[in-house]
Symmetry: C2
Subunit: 279 residues, 2 copies
């Protein structure tokens, strides 16, 4: 495990033509009935396990969002641990992005690092930029991990602060300033990425112009309405790679019956095709 | 529990002249040796329990930071649950602020609400503003809880983005724009607060001018070097209340011996005095 490097794992998947990431966000109410045995930890894990077993050859990464597990306290965190362990066991070549959107002062961030990197053994994490580089340096110091900084988020209200114009020689919106700082300063260990919502394809293009080499984690296709083609065209780098298209509900809840894992595989397969078909 | 309201609990403590909040951040390496029995969950909980038992009559709130518990996975989350339960049992009049600094898109934030409010039964939470009001609305909808929005954080690098000037008719730094939006728009349910670091007393004053009625959660005295008098003078509202002074390590690690709880009480007592002594 000591040679495990997120950027290398990701590049290997891109070289195989894989850009799809499955968001393992098990909304408990939406789990297939037959899985609901009354043991929440078991239910969440078995749902994920079956999805993983049916899809790991199709994806460049998995992305569990911690919120869906925290909602069930320690039982949920246990299910999250088991999920990451399972991916590391059956698909050690597929990196795991812990979507935790953490961000505190420096000393506290060191504890978050212990949670996502040491305890869960994740390969990458999502973080908030608001407290500045000095606070997030503990994350940046993990040179073998991936650190995805929120930049232009996918939600309808993203512009409230992100679009505020920053006074410089010419005005720049805040989200572009975040991209600029991450690309030119935070990325010393070449381990940073940016989170950019598929729901804002023009902004994705502007961010790519400012940060030509940083990988993009792109949520927001599917339920949130983002377009795959626009996301890929605006998000890819000059090599045609450098992006991860995330889909969660659209894949894992494609079916609520006993065939849910097979249905997830079909959906993932189709999305892969759609991504590769972009000129 | 259904009539439990954070603002009312806090106001009652302010009326008793209590403004000190103890940060329950149990750095495992710093726990007294005699507590280290090999069961991490038990160690973290028993440390907290003894601190709480020795101090609950002195404080206006407790503030556990989730990072210190997450670092130990499900065992840590269990200790956090037991800690909040203990406060609700021995000191039901003392509100609990879950310092989680969460912030995701809307649907996901609903899960975070389930974690901090339903599962942990916390009375308040800290959140990131970056995704905008639309995303954090699930938090704001909990009208009986307290929602503390990060504004001017206490760390040395806080200014990297927070000080960026926003172009308006006159320029305004981003952190003041956050305060303005929270005070005039997000606070419809009168349940919002702002996190403002004691390490930036002038900024605290500017924020108070923009947000006269919103409670301030003020970390950063003690280890981080903030001054109590400056924080109180700049942070209090026109009634002389409206602020919470947080201290963690300075209190809970005042001693590493078997007298750690008594030492914590002494420190808390002294800080209370220092706060009340401000003219």
């Amino acid at each position: 495990m000591s040679n495990r490097n997120f950027q290398r794992l990701l590049a290997a998947k891109w070289a195989e033509g894989k850009f799809l990431c499955i968001g393992l966000d098990p909304i408990h109410d939406k789990l297939p009935d037959f899985l609901k045995t009354g043991n929440i930890s078991k239910e969440l894990f078995e749902f994920n396990r079956d999805i993983i077993d049916a899809t790991f050859d199709l994806v460049c990464a998995y992305k569990p969002n911690t919120a869906f597990y925290e909602a069930f306290g320690d039982a949920g965190i246990l299910a999250l641990q088991r999920t990451v362990d399972h991916i590391n066991t059956v698909a050690p070549d597929v990196p795991v992005i812990i979507d935790a959107k953490r961000g505190d002062i420096g000393n506290t961030n060191q504890r978050y690092c212990e949670f996502v990197f040491d305890h869960l053994k994740g390969d990458a994490v999502t973080i908030h930029p608001y407290l500045g580089r000095e606070a997030v340096q503990p994350f940046l110091d993990y040179s073998e991990k991936g650190i995805f900084v929120l930049c232009r988020t996918s939600n309808p209200g993203a512009g409230e602060f992100q679009d505020l114009r920053i006074l410089k020689t010419e005005t720049v919106p805040l989200y572009l300033q975040v991209a600029d700082n991450v690309s030119r300063s935070w990325n010393e260990n070449k381990n940073c990425g940016l989170v950019v919502g598929a729901t804002y394809p023009q902004e994705i293009g502007s961010i790519r112009a400012v940060a030509p080499e940083v990988p993009f984690l792109i949520p927001g296709i599917g339920t949130q309405g983002g377009d795959v083609e626009a996301a890929v065209k605006n998000g890819r780098n000059s090599d045609g790679t450098g992006f991860i298209i995330n889909s969660s509900s659209g894949i894992i809840f494609a079916s609520s019956g006993p065939d849910f894992a097979e249905a997830a595989r079909k959906k993932a397969y189709g999305l892969n095709h759609e991504i590769r078909a972009v000129n």
